[in-house]
């Protein structure tokens, strides 16, 4: 009897030991609900096969909720997440604060293959603090049929004057077609992203080299008046409520002549499953005013490891897998080249298969046309094309965005909106000690 008991005990102990040895380390990944991210969740079998000791739990959230949650978590060292999806706005600030683990990958990762503009935006003091999962700029998406009907030809690199003229010619309000669909929704990541990038091409800037707000400059007045004229004359009704998704819906239903927005939208508007104009879409670089800067932004959704995590090694394995060349090939093999996360690696754009994707080259050219280190015509003390990479920017940016959106809604004039933006930015910057 005793022997049986001993054997049973030994078996139980052995089983427990084996179970412990086999139990995987679980990492929690916080991410936004974007198509590329969701696709990755469906391809986890590949990661699990390569890293059987690591389980991945996903926390998928709406962008602003995610931003709020990960910021609270990282600032308080909450340790709820082992990998965070963050953008080019957060990386310089969080990297400087020592909140992120510097990323060092082995040779097979080929860090030099990352697109220089994207890599530059994720590097602080020569350390890479986040690995780009997908990168984007902005460009002009237009209806080739409507452009031809208007008797115009879209240049590869149009000017703002051409955009105004084309918008006028393409607008047919009786048919419900509007020449220009552009973001008007009040948020620093919505209308202000577009307006700030546009302002760069008009020679405007947020701050001079001594951090003095510049909304009282003639360049800002030109920018905002141009934006308001373009949308008031040739934009859809209720444009002040339209963000990315609303304009996407309008464009896909054939209501827009041109849509100037994120390059990532190209795969949506050319997808015949959802878009009624999939075979009629052309692409061009974001417009300029001949001052040497185009009105396109730069953004990369990237994977970073918070300094508070106790599972940094497992987290790094995951980040390396998700942002590797092999992952791009995996997506291509399962879902086709058009669905590969764009805008991160030079080798992707050298791939003859990927070059067949209609928007591939224009995406690359747009990304290369943006320079987050020198975003404006005149010098500035900040990094960032469509944002200013300082912690105060989210609050200031959204307040300024509300002023501009109010001007678009007709509640105030461009001059009133700019005066209010100047006053509130001065106040906030004084308070912040700049």
């Amino acid at each position: 009897m005793k022997t049986i008991k001993k054997n049973l005990l030994a078996t139980a102990l052995l089983s427990a030991t084996m179970a412990t040895a086999a139990s995987a380390e679980t990492i929690t990944v916080a991410t936004v609900n974007n198509g590329d991210m969701i696709r990755m969740q469906g391809l986890m079998a590949d990661f699990n096969a390569k890293h059987p000791g690591i389980d991945v739990e996903w926390v998928t959230l709406e962008e602003s909720v995610l931003r709020e949650k990960v910021t609270t978590d990282i600032a308080t060292k909450g340790g709820q997440y082992d990998v965070m999806t963050i953008g080019t706005y957060e990386v310089p600030i969080w990297g400087n604060n020592g909140w992120l683990v510097p990323l060092e990958f082995d040779v097979s990762y080929d860090v030099d293959d990352l697109l220089p503009a994207i890599r530059g935006g994720l590097t602080v003091n020569d350390n890479l603090y986040a690995a780009p999962f997908y990168g984007e700029s902005s460009m002009v998406m237009f209806r080739e049929d409507l452009m031809a009907k208007a008797g115009l030809e879209m240049p590869k690199a149009p000017s703002w004057n051409f955009i105004m003229k084309a918008a006028k010619e393409m607008t047919d309000k009786d048919e419900g077609i509007y020449g220009a669909c552009i973001r008007g929704k009040a948020h620093w990541g919505e209308n202000l992203a577009f307006i700030t990038a546009t302002a760069n091409s008009f020679g405007a800037r947020w701050f001079d080299e001594n951090w003095n707000p510049q909304f009282d400059s003639a360049e800002w007045s030109d920018t905002l008046n141009f934006y308001l004229n373009l949308l008031n004359r040739y934009g859809p009704p209720g444009a002040s409520s339209n963000g990315f998704n609303e304009n996407l819906a309008l464009f896909q239903q054939g209501k827009c002549g041109m849509w100037i927005d994120a390059t990532v939208a190209a795969s949506f508007v050319t997808n015949p499953k959802d878009s009624t104009v999939a075979d009629k879409v052309g692409f061009a670089l974001a417009p300029d005013n001949g001052l040497g800067k185009r009105g396109n932004w730069l953004w990369a959704w990237s994977l970073a490891i918070p300094a508070g995590t106790e599972k940094a090694d497992a987290a790094k394995s995951f980040v390396q897998w998700a942002t590797s060349k092999e992952y791009l090939e995996l997506v291509a093999s399962k879902e086709g080249w058009a669905n590969v996360p764009p805008g991160t690696r030079t080798s992707l754009y050298a791939n003859p298969e990927y070059q067949k994707v209609p928007f591939a080259q224009m995406t690359l050219d747009s990304i290369n046309a943006a320079d987050p280190q020198n975003p404006t015509v005149d010098p500035v003390p900040y990094v960032g094309v469509q944002f200013v990479a300082i912690p105060e920017f989210q609050a200031i940016g959204t307040a300024v965005a509300q002023e501009f959106s109010a001007a678009l809604a007709g509640d105030k004039t461009a001059e009133e909106a700019l005066a209010a933006a100047q006053a509130l930015t001065e106040r906030a910057m004084d308070k912040a000690g700049y």
């Binding site: 996903w58 949506f268 499953k273 959802d274």
Partner: protein, 276 residues
């Protein structure tokens, strides 16, 4: 003549009530309808009401992508747990305020209610830090306690209103018959206040089920309830309305069905003492 007027009055009120009901219910109906559309149909202009190709595709996608049962179970534990814990504290508190009021009872009641006037985000960081230092981030325990605290003023206020309707003489009679305080509350007061307690429970389960500030901010993967499940279907870049609607329908269905079956109890409890 008078009879005719009464009938036409009734008719007008009935029609108005139906219009009001339909207006309130319309967003829910629209959400349910959208959940059966494709993403393209969900955003089509002009919108389509019923004339579309009905599809279960969104429900399939949501089922594939999310662990619904885990979110559902977390919602049940948090809403029911916080309500029961709240009742344990609120019943004695409301008894004391209703039957043995002190000089400052009214002030205490008002003070409790005033805690609801502060925006939750105002205490976000201190509470987050407390939960973090207690090692309770992403745990149902923390949310049960916090949801209980958030809704406690409402529970006490509702119970206080119901208890005030119960004649004090009955409790006194019980006391004279030798009932202890515990027995008085359990065997005399509670059975008489069952409709009130039941409607308080139901309302608080609904409030805790729908709460989306603390449940989003204090959870990650393990304790996230259905509010987080819904939030995961909103996208900044890409159409998501149909899938979001499917997720929303799945999240509200249990509480809607519960409300449907218990509506008599709810209405009775909510109007208890309204007409004197």
């Amino acid at each position: 003549m008078a009879r005719q007027q009464t009938i036409s009055n009734k008719l007008v009120w009935t029609v108005l009530a139906w219009i009001l009901g339909a207006t309130i219910f319309f967003p829910i109906l629209w959400t349910v309808l959208t959940s059966f559309k494709t993403e393209a149909q969900a955003i089509s202009i002009p919108p389509v009401m019923f004339d579309f190709d009905w599809t279960f595709e969104n429900y399939e996608t949501v089922q594939e992508r999310s662990n619904y049962s885990r979110h559902f179970w977390n919602s049940v534990v948090i809403s029911v747990g916080s309500t029961l814990l709240g009742l344990l504290i609120a019943v004695p508190a409301a008894w004391a305020m209703a039957f043995v009021p002190g000089k400052r009872t009214k002030d205490v009641l008002m003070w409790m209610l005033s805690t609801k006037m502060m925006p939750a985000v105002g205490v976000m960081i201190p509470i987050y830090l407390m939960v973090q230092s207690a090692g309770l981030l992403d745990s149902k325990t923390a949310l049960v306690i916090i949801m209980m605290l958030v809704n406690l003023p409402i529970i006490i206020w509702m119970l206080y209103t119901y208890f005030k309707e119960i004649p004090g003489d009955i409790l006194e009679a019980a006391r004279m018959d030798g009932a202890s305080l515990k027995n008085e509350i359990i065997y005399v007061l509670t059975p008489m206040a069952v409709p009130g307690i039941a409607s308080t429970m139901l309302l608080n389960v609904i409030l805790a089920w729908n709460e989306a500030f603390w449940t989003l901010n204090l959870t990650a993967a393990k304790a996230a309830p259905l509010t987080a499940f819904i939030a995961s279907y909103s996208s900044p870049e890409g159409l998501f309305y149909a899938k979001l609607s499917a997720a929303s329908t799945m999240a509200i269905a249990p509480i809607l069905i519960m409300g449907w079956f218990s509506q008599k109890q709810l209405v009775r409890g909510l109007t208890f003492g309204a007409v004197k």
